[in-house]
Point group: C2
Chain length 561, copies 2
């Protein structure tokens, strides 16, 4: 198995008959999926998603792929193919379209409807081209065939890309529910046909490659939710992802069957269910939906809320209910269903919500105690089917952290893909498919680009490093004013500390020390502002370290008067 | 079931024949277990542990129980009973002994040896009184009987406390491994005998009350580890808790059986295994152990490291190996065993370590893919045995978050404890056992006391709030110097920003605005330093919010010259 070496450099020119593949996100991480294909000087992008920040990225709203690799070549981009409408596949589209607004977006009906609804908020009207499974369309030299796949959002697609360099199949995110809610199966027959034709490179979803066996059918959740509805004392609150239309449908069906009205809560839930209802992906009987302002008039035992917040997002309605900071006051007659996965990194937040709700006595149904969630990603058993049906010449695991990529590579090896034809690449690693052989040829920048407030890319790793220090240790600033001609200190020192756990009354000691220092420096005739700043920093830093064994950021300020 | 109401106030005086129970930690949280028993004006403390901080407590080293409740009555304390030597049961002992050094510590041989080794680092020589299971000792009015329990550290004890108010059984942390490594079973016969005598209040470990069934025997891990050792290509690294002597024994046995030398890595691992070896709790054949400095001379296939770092602690050897920041360079011939649980809150850190090690090709064995860990806490099935054998008059679930306490309360109800005799209390809630009835009578302060660096309790919630703002948003400081007589600005504004994502060159705009502001204020004759600070804060804050949609901390400094 090839894998990136630290010595990788810039890639060589792409041979005329070669296909170049560069993932700017999604390899070595779960999120910001974006892959750039290049043939004959033209580019095709598949997916353009965001990554959600972890505690290592404090204060950050979103993380984007670095578009630098395509920035100088925006006009070479034929299209952006969107496999489905999850944020980690479409969330960065608004930011790429800011750089060139008329790149065509290719996707299924629901995918385009959801990205268009999102782009309205960014005041962007995109160029879109709808495709359905079975369609075959060319975008420049890229001859694309679309295949149905089943996932945790309807209308997802895999894409087969044909160029003279060969046939590449990208699965997108998928699983293989054999009794899907909408009857739309992952097109294994199509995978088999392409396998017979000869797939030169398979790029397949690795998210659950470590999980043995098969994903339970989404359909099995319905009866469990129905049972919860039948036995609930009073109000029911179902929290799930705002994009999981089939899950919402099951909650909605259970509400209807048990004579309850339904209220959607949360901006993205309301928006997405509006779109899904309009397009017929969500079936809503007349008179079932109620508005949030009408909740008061409906008896608790006749009501179900379907809301976001299943990941413990602190500002969500659910988190605020758990903390008694919401008009809905949780009691021991309430039932709360967390009908979703627990995304890694959110464990503490979700646990806090469960404990908060439990404190008030609510009954909590979650995937730990009932079958109210199944994954949207194929497990190892399903991945083996795909590998065996497609019989790829080369294999590249995608959509996963290192542990998932390696586990998927192992599965490929077990099905007979020669190890030398398995490419494990990280973000930015350049893979060329030339003469039927995929190989790593170089690396390009593919770092994190941070969105924070209204700015994109202005927050750097250095800003984050500062934030981490400030967040762990706080800061101490020391200000003196000096006479700009004589260099003599004429006011200060004044000390401020925040988050450093130092009391104002403790400053006297260090102020006395600084005054000694200043007197000494004056005697030495030190008038250099830079040197003065340095000694202030050193003196205060040493005092804090000696007295408190802590290391806040020290900010010396010298004002010249 | 009684549970605390927000209207709880200070408790009334304790009736002369009543027993008062106040948990200062461990109820509504996993950690800092500490319970204070009071009878006839005298106090007995059971356990005195720490809680480890989460991301909500940035920069904090440890969280202690608030000793305020006992601070004015230190001389009333008869003893501290330590049920076992885990940090969440003994970690706060050094801090309580700082307040009164001669409080006797009661515990088993290993428990006392480990706390004494720890106290050496704090330069405290405690008063200790060793007990063994079966002992019955009085500490003032508290007649204590000790019973063996099985847990993930040897030599753990439950304690039955008799006073004229009744018989209380506290299980401590326990599980019921029926084939324990050391043959030392949880004393169910003793529990049954006490049940026959009449237990007025059972206080039992709730950690795994939500987990159905029974904990697998620790003994079943041995063969799995042995198999890993037999099939490992070269070096083996086993990471586990430094207190889990039986787990270390199994790794050590596997090393011996497979002809490998063993090196302990990590300060607490080396210290604890030294103590455990000296006392005979760890059996180490001669010539097996090697020192870290001798590692180079041993072939990789003859070596096993046993280290800490199984929770992804960033400074641990294991984390540094994962990041290639350690003399041991991980390769694809290495096998790493994470033979431990994943403590909630550490998911991201552990995932980072697994991905880091996987990136270099190491084989990772963890509880997700092999039976290399079993919990140290009884599951629901075991808890039912204890409830049925002890037949308590009253029940109070301990050691757990709300979800665990409620789940355990539910189990108690199912076994026939009347709901009105089940007390769910949070930290600080005062429970009185009077005339055979346990009831909640009030609440006392039991907040977090933070250890950060060398200070205890100096970091307040306000400091943490500052840290959270600084950590998410950074700060902007603006400094001006004014003439103390005229109030005229004579230097500045000078602007500094850290972590706010604002470039130095962007300051010109705001400096210009501030200069306008200062001129206006001068014209208005505003000379009040406080008012000047306020307008600086407002002006800069508005500029940052308008320009960047961010809210860093704004620090205005006015130096009077």
């Amino acid at each position: 198995m090839s894998h990136p070496h630290p010595e990788l450099g810039s890639p060589p020119p792409l041979p005329a008959h070669g296909l170049r593949i560069v993932a700017l996100g999604g390899l070595g991480e779960i999120g910001r999926n974006m892959t750039v294909f290049e043939y004959g000087g033209r580019l095709l992008i598949v997916d353009c998603g965001v990554l959600f920040p972890e505690e290592e990225q404090p204060g950050i709203d979103l993380i984007l792929p670095d578009f630098e690799y395509v920035r100088g070549r925006l006009d070479d981009i034929e299209a952006i193919v969107l496999t489905h409408a999850h944020e980690d596949h479409i969330g960065a589209v608004p930011y790429l379209l800011r750089e060139r607004g008329d790149i065509p977006l290719i996707g299924s009906r629901l995918t385009l409807a959801l990205i268009e609804a999102k782009l309205v908020e960014h005041r962007i009207k995109p160029v879109v081209r709808k495709v359905v499974e079975g369609d075959r369309q060319s975008y420049g030299p890229f001859d694309c065939e679309f295949l149905a796949v089943n996932h945790s959002i309807p209308d997802a697609l895999a894409v087969a890309i044909r160029t003279p360099a060969g046939l590449v199949l990208g699965t997108g995110d998928f699983k293989m529910d054999q009794l899907p809610m909408d009857g739309r199966l992952t097109d294994l027959a199509g995978f088999a046909r392409l396998g017979a034709e000869g797939i030169d490179l398979l790029m397949s979803d690795s998210t659950n490659a470590e999980v043995p066996g098969f994903v339970t059918s989404e359909r099995n959740i319905g009866p469990v939710i129905d049972d919860v509805f039948r036995t609930a004392k009073e109000r029911i609150i179902v929290a799930c992802f705002a994009s999981h239309i089939h899950r919402v449908q099951q909650a909605l069906d259970a509400a209807v069957a048990n004579g309850r009205k339904v209220c959607f809560v949360g901006r993205s839930m309301v928006r997405n269910m509006g779109v899904a209802g309009d397009l017929g992906y969500l079936r809503v009987p007349d008179g079932v939906l109620v508005e949030q302002r009408d909740l008061e008039s409906i008896p608790a035992e006749k009501l179900a809320l379907i809301c976001t917040g299943s990941q413990g997002e602190p500002m969500s309605a659910l988190s605020r209910m758990a903390g008694r900071d919401h008009q809905i006051r949780i009691t021991d007659a309430d039932t709360v269903v967390l009908a979703s996965s627990l995304i890694p990194g959110n464990e503490n937040a979700v646990n806090r919500v469960i404990n908060g709700l439990t404190r008030w006595g609510a009954r909590i149904v979650h995937k730990g105690n009932a079958l109210v969630h199944v994954s949207g990603h194929a497990s190892a058993g399903e991945l083996l089917y795909v590998l065996n049906l497609t019989k790829p010449g080369n294999f590249m695991p995608i959509h996963g952290e290192w542990r998932h990529l390696r586990a998927h590579a192992k599965l490929a090896e077990l099905t007979g893909v020669p190890p030398e034809n398995i490419v494990i690449a990280e973000d930015g690693v350049v893979v060329d498919l030339v003469d039927g052989q995929a190989s790593i040829v170089g690396i390009v920048p593919a770092g994190y680009v941070y969105v924070d407030g209204s700015s994109v890319g202005e927050i750097t790793e250095n800003s984050l490093k500062d934030r981490r220090i400030l967040g762990e240790e706080g800061f101490v600033s020391v200000v003196v004013a000096i006479d700009s001609t004589s260099g003599k200190v004429i006011a200060g020192p004044e000390i401020h500390a925040r988050g450093a756990g130092i009391m104002n009354e403790d400053f006297n000691e260090i102020i006395a020390r600084i005054e000694v220092l200043l007197t000494e420096q004056a005697a030495d005739g030190v008038a250099d502002v830079h040197a003065l700043r340095q000694s202030l920093r050193r003196t205060v830093g040493k005092w804090v370290s000696d007295s408190y064994r802590r290391r806040p950021m020290i900010i010396p300020v010298v004002v010249e008067v």
